[in-house]
Symmetry: C2
């Protein structure tokens, strides 16, 4: 049994949505399954004192164009959510409830589509989220209720801390056979790793890891 | 005469190096020339209150692996510079001196190779930079002297300010027929634009531009 691909994501990221539409086919091509881990992207930014793309005005504009271009190329439906940024915690907690893998994939599909699939209602309102899931034959009310409990809250918090500890700094990130890959742009690298052809395996990274810093930003000004 | 591709770069970025090795072929395929604009990446980060990839420890490690993977894929030689980050201002100023396009391409080739080509001496020491250029039949001493003058300093400062004003937030960035593209990963999108097939042209971006923010980061915690 080969190891699954761990897929770290947050519904707030359109790249995570795009990645979610591709990762199952990548996994299937290599006889793998996908283990989705919902995490809070904002907590990664806080931990690293970093800004998200939506927090830098020219980057925010650019990112939307970039995801539209990639969505067009991959023939994936994409439209703006009702608001952005939004609070993704309810959706993350629903997606991380204990359930079988097929149900979890279904739930994540529904929630991602409600945000980025075009003209969806978003995932911030508990009543709306319950309805979305119920329309798909899932126990929407039960899931939303469970997601608001302490166990579900603790689960997302713990998953986010573990992701940080594992070196995750952005979403989507994929853990494939012990290596982390960041962003949809890295998916071709993920595939090479799954084929046993990751060039990094043959490179001595010691010199890169030991690179001395010759200047800090303040001094460079 | 079709418009050139403007290539914004800083020697500090291994992605800018990788991009430089590809952008001329992309331009040639579409009957374009390349207009290289050396800018100070650190000033973009300062302007946006942003951190560079080398300033986030797990991202720094990841980025080096990512560029090694892409360099392997593109068959581009890549090795660590003597130090990183380093102060790129001397090299930026040399690269931005007034000269004919072929000479400028040659100078930028030499300087990028000295940083990222593998076992190069870097570009922070004026004597070393003068020697590197002289070995290539260029007037190394004269260029380094000119680069240390006020005119050269002002030129890089002005180019960086103009890039910021144009919406550049990272390097490499390519301006192609009025649209900015960020990073080597966006080169396929650049090519589609040059073919007149940029999907963004057919999409109403108004709804994306007007997206309301429903939560700020502090509130999401």
């Amino acid at each position: 049994m080969k190891a699954p691909l761990t897929f770290y994501f947050d519904f707030i990221s359109p790249y995570a949505y795009l990645g979610w539409t591709q990762i199952h086919a990548i996994a299937a091509r290599h006889g793998r399954t996908v283990l989705p881990i919902p995490i809070l992207f904002a907590a990664l930014l806080d931990a690293h004192g970093h800004k998200g793309p939506a927090e830098i005005p020219p980057k925010r504009v650019y990112i939307f164009k970039d995801v539209l271009r990639t969505a067009h190329q991959w023939k994936v439906p994409l439209g703006p959510p009702p608001a952005h940024p939004f609070n993704p915690l309810l959706a993350l907690r629903v997606a991380s409830l204990e359930m079988d893998p097929d149900a979890q994939k279904h739930v994540i599909d529904v929630l991602f589509r409600a945000v980025w699939g075009g003209d969806g209602p978003g995932v911030t309102d508990p009543t709306v989220v319950a309805e979305l899931l119920s329309e798909e034959g899932l126990d929407g009310e039960g899931m939303v209720h469970a997601a608001q409990g302490e166990t579900a809250k603790a689960r997302v918090r713990k998953a986010t801390e573990e992701a940080l500890h594992a070196g995750v700094f952005g979403v989507p990130s994929v853990l494939a056979d012990g290596e982390l890959f960041w962003g949809c742009d890295a998916f071709p690298h993920v595939e090479r790793r799954l084929e046993g052809a990751d060039p990094v395996d043959a490179i001595d990274l010691g010199r890169w890891a030991a690179l001395p810093a010759q200047s800090k930003r303040k001094a460079a000004q």
